[in-house]
Symmetry: C2
Subunit: 573 residues, 2 copies
Amino acid sequence: MSTLFLRTLREDPADAEVPSHKLLVRAGYVRRVAPGVYSWLPLGLRVLRAVENIVREEMNAIGGQEISLPALLPRDPYEVTGRWNEYGDALFRLQDRKGNDMLLGPTHEELFALLVRGEYSSYKDLPVTLYQIQTKYRDEERPRAGILRGREFVMKDSYSFDLDQDGAAASYQAHRGAYQAIFDRLGVKYVIVKATSGAMGGSASEEFLADSEVGEDTYVRSIETGYAANVEAVITPVPDAIAIEGQPAAQVYETGSTPTIATLVDWANATLDRTVTSADTLKNILVKVRAPGKDWQIMGIGIPGDRDVDMKRLEASLEPAEVALLDDADFAKTPELVRGYIGPAGVKNAGGTYLVDPRVVSGTRWITGADEQGKHVVDLVAGRDFEPDGTIEAAEVRDGDLTPDGTGTLLSAKGIEIGHIFQLGTKYTDAFEVDVLGETGKPVRLIQGSYGVGVSRLVAVIAEQCHDDKGLRWPKSVTPYDVHLVIAGKDAAVVEGAEKLAADLDAAGLSVLIDDRKASPGVKFKDAELLGMPAVVVVGRGFAGGTVEIRDRFAGTAEEVPVAEAVAILSAR
Amino acid sequence: MSTLFLRTLREDPADAEVPSHKLLVRAGYVRRVAPGVYSWLPLGLRVLRAVENIVREEMNAIGGQEISLPALLPRDPYEVTGRWNEYGDALFRLQDRKGNDMLLGPTHEELFALLVRGEYSSYKDLPVTLYQIQTKYRDEERPRAGILRGREFVMKDSYSFDLDQDGAAASYQAHRGAYQAIFDRLGVKYVIVKATSGAMGGSASEEFLADSEVGEDTYVRSIETGYAANVEAVITPVPDAIAIEGQPAAQVYETGSTPTIATLVDWANATLDRTVTSADTLKNILVKVRAPGKDWQIMGIGIPGDRDVDMKRLEASLEPAEVALLDDADFAKTPELVRGYIGPAGVKNAGGTYLVDPRVVSGTRWITGADEQGKHVVDLVAGRDFEPDGTIEAAEVRDGDLTPDGTGTLLSAKGIEIGHIFQLGTKYTDAFEVDVLGETGKPVRLIQGSYGVGVSRLVAVIAEQCHDDKGLRWPKSVTPYDVHLVIAGKDAAVVEGAEKLAADLDAAGLSVLIDDRKASPGVKFKDAELLGMPAVVVVGRGFAGGTVEIRDRFAGTAEEVPVAEAVAILSAR
């Protein structure tokens, strides 16, 4: 440590909010260069490499072959799949000296599909899984928490190519198992949640979320059933239909100025002969939707009035189409839509599509807009008085909602995405016509999977899950050094004894960080806690009597042991 | 090999001109993604990693500490040192979503200086050497030869920081030694040449050039003395001055239309009473020069008329100033300069600086322009009739020129730059005021060194130096696999025997690539030669009799050896 490029800091960095960020900076593991762009100093790089190696071993174990594609990529392939535009501002775009558009790769589905097309031509070549551990770039709107969400980061991305759906499913399951092995070896606590596929396209998808208070990914889980899903992926259980026969006829009322659910409920309770809650009302949200290459279309979404629309769920349901709320100009152009009093009929009259929450089943009756200023309709029955064009998952998910199978209740939790597995299907292989000659002599379109692990993010996640108020606490699998050896004394015998012990530990296969600085034992102990090696050995006062102290950074315990036994004890841990 | 992501090609790629490019593509080591941007396939990545590890070991051996800085960098530090502009089109520039200027790092002098400033504050912390093995970006005007000159490439760059010049010299020598060790271990044939420092600034500098016919770097060397230098760095030996006394007076002649050296020499031989060659004339080249932040200034350069100006040497001499030839508009604005008849006086009358080739010593006499249309002056004596403002290395270097010490003669050769070591001095530490508190309590400005190894380029260089017409031939230090084991037979006994031998080799610490494909022995042998592992083992016809064949890819020899001895023989190589 007297020569190690390391300076620990007493103070938390001003821009740090989460513990891992504070500690990794204070302990000299990383340094900020620009927002979301960090340098890895010696100790940090050792942790990063340890994580990389575990990921590499588990990828190799499922037959993955490591390659390395460039980060600087031409525009063309991303133009073909539409992602050049779809990525929006999150894509770092640039031009070379000849004016060619290029980008910094955020993920490499296109390039791997093209690569396989270029090399392989026969069904005999398949299946294949290729991966890389590579620096990736995304121009995050809000880079945060140090290396937790950076704009330059290290990712393991792999891609499988299979001849059929069974093969694709097997590749997906192999990755699922490898990811479990990786995260288990890293000692990360995590949950696997069903996910939508986001901008990646495709069908089946799961996310690996690390448990964390500071996570940005909200998901829901059911303690009773073990179900866990990304909020965007939650499927609302559909209630049974209700008999229409015998229900009262719909009736339009002058409701006065009641443009909100709250004012409408107040009117209803004052007027109608029953108790009404917001859940009895049908709220109609107007949006416009633009499918890729198409024009904007009006869409109305009917959801029970006690719930808000969750825009992320709505966007996920409509993807890859864009969605936006109607603005004043849109309403001005569409007199059929009477703001505050919109009903299902108004949406259809305006030429819009009308979708409803899955809870709006046939036979449910609603208080909703009558499409005239100051008027609402009561006892409007779904399936009798209006017929939606379909259902949509757009309503917010709340604690206590039922699981999709109806047997459990959902509770929200927060996590950090550390892995993501996708069955892409043929989205990219269609785009580039990635075919091989099949066994029957006919071309077979390959089925692609895409799988990512946030390698640099995992360093922050482990720090986030493994720390206390004194500093970091690295699991053995990724610790920069196995043993932190503190020389707590100036006697030549102590220094020599420490150096001999370090050499013995090294010979036993344990890596050792020796604190040989001219600093007080107190300063050294504080730094040892901050840096977080799992075992700290103190060679000091007891050495003359033949003992050293072994401290366990996780348990917080300390014991004096005979010097002669120290190597054996530390090796056995 | 039946599952390896590898397809060898029969044909050379259309865009490939040099052997390493052809072979690395044909053998499936790399694939092109865009001009100067390549993917590394499994075998190529193994070679790249092997080179990286040798570089890492030797850097660690001289006390280098590995860290990793981002490739995506903010503009500011490069603006401070002027390199944001100086790099010209070679710098990949981009803007992030907020409109901030960023760049892809071509080299990291600025960032390392800032990093050390941020961490270190006392003389006790020094010296320090930091390095990274990282992907770098340069928008080369002519990316060529595959990975030999790419736009995205892997480089080891290191930076030393010292308190004084002796320390800086020691760090420089340590790197010099490490680089020799690296290139020796890689089996690369190279020469160390004195170099100018290019855009890096600073004082002492040497380049490591690999011997290669296809090299773009021309250098000169002297067989007699061992001197070797970049053409830009060659120092012209200065002849002794000649006595002025007794020399004839300068005389102006009407020379008619003699705007070129050839026409002037013809005139002189027809008119004067002696034999004149172009070496007796003084050619005055007019340029304009712009120092950073200054205006363009006229400069005249006088060189013996038998030599041309070498623009690269001129640019190197004037760096960091820009230099350009005078254009018609410039001449139109400067009537003192009479094109074709310019003399030293005209340059000074035009307000220009007048520099001469080092051979133009006091007492030399010249035929040169008289600054009037159709007139030249004969017997113009340096130090008597004109006084240059100084000398400049701008004339071309020719085979047969003397070495700087005058004891040898120079011959030109071609090489590929694989390493470069610089003493930067305080160029960057001045820019960022990188000081520490010195032993006496006063601030000490640190002295920086900068050292680069072209890691990915070395893969091409090794391929370039180690191949024959059949394919690649990897040295043991970087070969993707130690042994290429060809199964040349379908008998179960042959296959099992080959697999057992592979397992034994693996247990002995030798990595093995097994060709278990359903292909003819001929196809397999051809691929083995193309892929280039140093040892090829054939398990085939002789196996029933207890032998296998061992082929040496370098020597081209083959011998049948008992199966039982194969491991020992291969291990002993």
